[in-house]
């Protein structure tokens, strides 16, 4: 009897878990789905019901020079951020894992700190610092801020992979006659590549859709994609925004996805080449 009751209870618990999980997913993804669906809505109003299927909002977006400028700005900032952050992050992670030096713990904490401090505080902080040294808000400064925000994630990702690359590979390479630099290039770096690529993609995404810190840091007259969307929202919820949102989703989800796929097929190709060489 008790067993049966336990069983029904178990079944109920499982069903509840299922329902709650489903609710969470709906809560998470319904807005995204709605945005994407509504971006193809023919209606003048950015909401349900759908009145027809159309690409007109995308066409309109394409003609909106403000949006295009913001998109370009964001793209450049994200690209520069990703490049610089990956380079710095790689070196930092390498140093943190492979070397012992004074202040190592401190450096480690400082690098991770921007990920822990609320972005608003970071935004205000940098702004105050800029004001204190009497500097104008410029685009390079905005990029610098994005680097600051993205660096912890790159370092953490590369560090995690670095820990798994045993030092004896390096020792073996050195004993075989490679210099430290050659060993890094030929042994450590190739083993690190997946983490480096992942870090770069993440840095790109973090920069591309950063909103709150960008609001503080952007120079007058410069809009990034997220701040552009915000200012457009202030006027009205135009269906154009749904189209823009869909583009944003495509970029931030699509780029890492494409990157991952490219990386995978690259390594597969290389392996095939190696086997064919015989």
């Amino acid at each position: 009897m008790t067993a049966r009751r336990g069983n029904t209870e178990g079944r109920l618990a499982w069903r509840m878990t299922g329902i709650i999980t489903l609710c969470v997913y709906i809560f998470l993804f319904a807005p995204i789905v709605a945005t994407v669906v509504l971006s193809f809505n023919d209606s003048m109003f950015g909401g349900f019901p759908m009145t027809g299927f159309s690409f007109r909002w995308y066409a309109k977006l394409w003609e909106n020079e403000q949006v295009l400028a913001a998109f370009q700005t964001s793209l450049w900032i994200a690209l520069v951020t990703a490049t610089v952050t990956t380079a710095i992050g790689l070196v930092t992670a390498f140093a943190l894992v492979r070397f012992e030096f004074a202040g190592k713990e401190l450096l480690s904490t400082l690098v991770i700190l921007p990920a822990l401090v609320p972005e608003t505080i970071l935004g205000v902080g940098l702004l105050v610092a800029i004001k204190a040294v009497d500097q104008p808000r410029t685009l390079p400064l905005l990029v610098l801020g994005h680097i600051l925000l993205a660096l912890p994630y790159v370092v953490l990702i590369v560090q995690a992979r670095m820990v798994g690359i045993r030092r004896i590979y390096d020792e073996a390479a050195l004993s075989l006659g490679a210099t430290r630099l050659q060993s890094f290039r030929e042994i450590t770096l190739p083993l690190l590549i997946p983490a480096v690529v992942a870090g770069a993609l993440l840095a790109f995404t973090i920069s591309f859709d950063n909103t709150s810190a960008s609001l503080f840091w952007r120079p007058a007259g410069v809009e990034t994609m997220p701040t552009q969307i915000l200012s457009m929202l202030k006027i009205s919820i135009s269906p154009e925004i749904n189209a823009l949102g869909t583009v944003m989703i495509l970029v931030t989800v699509g780029i890492p996805l494409v990157g991952g796929i490219v990386l995978q097929s690259l390594s597969r190709m290389k392996r095939r080449d190696q086997q064919r060489e015989t």
Partner: protein, 394 residues
């Protein structure tokens, strides 16, 4: 195949410079001294083993040859050249690790070719040498495989090929067999020794396994706590351990403390703490504290022909087919281990037995654990007896 035709030349080595020489080296990590005043000359073409328990400094010494640890004092020479300031990648050494350390993203060919590539060997030459090295480790045709597609033993063979293909000055092996399973280990033991002989390369082998050390080495350096305890051929360190540590570490010898009770100049009688007496061929002053060291294999149990006799009660018997290992309580809280060939019935637990050993088969240690030299006449006697009972013939 030119390389494999080289004949081993450990005997001619004496004339030339040592392949590797340590002069009074010390190695410290902060305040911890891992190696203290270590000096050793290794003859060209010889196979030298550093043997000792973990933490004795043997791996540290090996890594100091490679340049992976810095020495705090003294000097190291490879092929007569001081290498203290030479970076690792210019030392021309072959290194084999316990965990293989094959580059996981490179195939077998690229792994083995790695050292040649950085020595600017032309490509056709690289291909030829790699093929030859793979032939030598009996894995020809495996060029395109990735390390993950090979078994542990195969990986270690590739690692060995990688370390010898560029004909280094010295081959360093850091417990290369420890990660392999028992069957593989024995096979690789023979293989490594064979390759070393065929190439005539100087090899320094680090292990904590006495069997590996005894079966492979020309010379064994027994290490303990950062110091050298003894250096000698496998027979020497086994038959004539210089210290109590060596006697215990190699083969778990029985250590019987006692005091010299009488001596007539040629024979000395020792009263063991266990309450029985043994007599040995040595001249020692009465009253001196000594330890009698007897290997379990030198003890015979049961029907006793001659020599020193002890009686005791069997505590445990391990029947191993051809021979048996007994633990025998000889009184005074002393338990002796005997590993004997079985002839006649196996002694049961609780049974009282007689055991005996030849006076020549034991070594005496003084109160500091150092071997007491035996009489000159006796020494040659001991050697002939040791030749017939070398550890490998058990």
């Amino acid at each position: 195949m030119a390389d494999t035709n080289q004949t081993p030349r450990p005997e001619t080595a004496g004339e030339t410079r040592p392949a590797v020489e340590f002069r009074d080296i010390s190695i410290a990590y902060g305040s911890f001294v891992a190696v203290r005043d270590f000096s050793l000359a290794i003859a060209k073409g010889s196979f030298v083993t550093l043997l000792g328990p973990s933490g004795c400094g043997k791996t540290t010494i090996l890594r100091s040859i490679a340049g992976l640890v810095d020495i705090s004092a003294g000097q190291i020479s490879i092929g007569g050249k001081r290498v203290d300031d030479v970076p690792i990648y210019k030392r021309n050494i072959g290194l084999v690790f316990q965990s293989y350390a094959l580059f996981p993203h490179k195939n077998v060919f690229d792994n083995v070719a790695f050292g040649l590539k950085y020595r600017n060997v032309p490509k056709p030459e690289i291909a030829r040498k790699v093929a030859q090295a793979l032939e030598m480790v009996r894995l020809p045709g495996s060029e395109r495989k990735l390390p993950s597609q090979l078994s542990g033993g195969q990986q270690q063979r590739i690692a060995l090929a990688r370390a010898i293909v560029f004909e280094p000055e010295v081959l360093l092996l850091d417990e290369p067999l420890s990660a392999l399973d028992a069957n593989m280990r024995e096979e690789m033991r023979v293989e490594i020794k064979k390759i070393q002989k065929a190439t005539g390369i100087t090899a320094i082998f680090v292990t904590h396994d006495q069997e590996e050390a005894l079966s492979m080495s020309d010379q064994i350096v027994v290490m303990n706590a950062g110091r050298m305890e003894q250096i000698g051929s496998p027979e020497q360190v086994y038959e004539a351990p210089a210290t109590g540590f060596v006697a215990d570490f190699l083969g778990k010898a029985n250590m019987l403390p006692g005091i010299v009770s009488s001596s007539d100049g040629a024979r000395t009688t020792i009263a063991l703490a266990a309450g029985q007496t043994v007599s040995v061929a040595a001249a020692l002053p009465p009253g001196r504290a000594v330890t009698v060291v007897v290997r379990p294999q030198k003890l015979s149990v049961g029907a006793v022909p001659s020599g020193n006799r002890l009686t005791g009660r069997v505590v445990s018997t391990s029947y191993l087919g051809g021979n048996a290992i007994y633990e025998i309580d000889i009184g005074g809280g002393t338990t002796i281990r005997a590993n004997t060939q079985i002839s006649g019935p196996v002694a049961a637990e609780g049974q009282t037995v007689e055991l005996a050993f030849d006076a020549a088969a034991c070594v005496l240690l003084d109160e500091h654990g150092q071997r007491i030299p035996v009489l000159p006449g006796r020494q040659s006697n001991a050697k002939t007896s040791s030749a017939s009972t070398s550890p490998r013939q058990q």
